[in-house]
């Protein structure tokens, strides 16, 4: 295998590690700014023009703080959990074609989508480990709530994510993206809306805010983390948000493609369309966050099993009918 300069550049700089990192910070900034404006406040405004450097400033501040490991925590797990979750989210993001072509040559195979969904789940699970190893009542409550939520939304999320795969007839993300002459949001809008709602549950945003309910259990699973490790946890959460939104964009909105532009590098234009679609979905998700209050954990479980799961099965049936109309008939 040859480590050409092109590969290293695409892996580390653009559209690889650095670009994803900066894109997740941009998403964090947009998220905070839009949420603030919806709540009649200013949002970040003073660091950089319109506060765009605020996520970076938060990260730098955290890196300067003292790193404390609690005496009774399980040390190894406590130290590794943020790192593993960060790396897994980053690895999963490197699989998604951000500029239309894959980053690691020869990586995309037929079961791509399942791999991405499973790795998202495992990386989310490591957030549970982070809270569990802290040996703190608040962290324990927060982590067990993560697990309870995962039990509820995981199956519907898989079913909704596999609906575009079903329409396309393939489980590989690049094939699904290329098969969208008409973006799937127009063909199966119910799956899109329900997938966004399930994504809210996975990203722990209102109304599924319960694992890190700030007003109730100090910070949930993040309570004992300070300094560099808290920086890694925050970066993992930002990457998780970017991953979820990138998945929505690839599966339902047609990925990195937009109206055909003839001049310039196609890689840059594709990245621009990708970024615009990501920002649109983030605004939509922040809107959902602002209008809902928080559900209790038992209400979350009831909602998942009584509403989301039957809806996911009905949506699957509806997609089967659409596919039959598309193929034959």
């Amino acid at each position: 295998m040859c480590l050409s300069f092109n590969f290293i550049f695409r892996l580390l700089i653009f559209p690889g590690f650095t670009f994803i990192f900066l894109l997740s910070m941009l998403c964090d900034w947009i998220e905070r700014k839009i949420k603030a404006r919806m709540q009649n406040r200013m949002g970040p405004a003073y660091t950089g023009p319109a506060g765009i450097l605020q996520p970076m400033a938060d990260l730098i501040k955290l890196l300067a703080k003292e790193d404390i490991v609690p005496y009774t925590a399980r040390t190894l797990l406590y130290k590794i959990a943020p790192l593993i979750s960060f790396s897994m989210f980053m690895l999963t993001l490197l699989i998604i074609p951000i500029d239309g072509a894959e980053i690691i040559p020869g990586f995309s195979f037929e079961g791509d989508l399942i791999l991405i969904l499973s790795m998202m789940l495992i990386a989310n699970f490591f957030l549970f480990f982070a809270g569990w190893s802290s040996n703190n009542p608040f962290s324990t409550i927060g982590s067990t709530r993560i697990l309870t939520q995962i039990v509820g939304y995981d199956i519907p999320m898989f079913i909704f994510a596999l609906t575009p795969a079903f329409l396309t007839g393939s489980l590989s993300i690049s094939t699904i993206v290329n098969a969208q002459r008409i973006p799937f949001i127009l063909l199966i809008p119910w799956a899109f809306i329900l997938f966004v709602i399930t994504l809210q549950a996975e990203l722990e945003k209102d109304p599924f805010d319960i694992p890190h309910a700030e007003t109730e259990i100090v910070a949930g699973y993040e309570t004992e983390y300070t300094g560099r490790r808290l920086a890694f946890m925050k970066m993992s959460k930002d990457l998780q948000m970017l991953l979820g939104v990138a998945l929505v964009v690839e599966l339902f909105l047609g990925g990195a493609y937009g109206p055909a532009i003839v001049f310039g590098s196609s890689s840059l234009w594709n990245t621009l369309w990708f970024t615009l679609k990501v920002l649109f979905i983030i605004v939509l998700m922040e809107y959902l966050t602002c209008i809902f209050a928080r559900l209790r954990i038992d209400q979350v479980v009831i909602f998942n099993w009584k509403t989301l799961l039957p809806l996911s099965l009905i949506s699957l049936v509806a997609s089967v009918l659409i596919k039959m109309v598309m193929v034959g008939g």
């Binding site: 603030a36 404006r37 406040r41 200013m42 949002g43 209008i291």
Partner: protein, 120 residues
Amino acid sequence: MIKISPMLKEVITQVFRRPATRKYPFVKPKVPEGFRGMHIFNSELCIGCGLCARDCPSGAIEMVNVGEKKRRPVFHLDLCIFCFQCAESCPRGAIKSSKVFELASKNKSALIINSPKNLE
């Protein structure tokens, strides 16, 4: 009948309006007349009676001896509750209020008005 919450539309329209935040350190608020801020002490009018120190509810005024028979008040702003009973009690009107309210400081000596060192 299910009513649609008016918040759905309100949240979106709020994005396009100016936020309600007041940009405090760059834009100072206007304080009303009669605002009780930092004390302004007129040393020439003071007769050293000590009524201000006696009437202060939190004991923030301390009378110190200056010179042979003169006494003057020293205001400790970290104890003061800004009720300005001292200004009302003063028979000569030597204590007045200003509109300065940004009194936070990193060292305690900034919070002592009229300290004995200044009285020489």
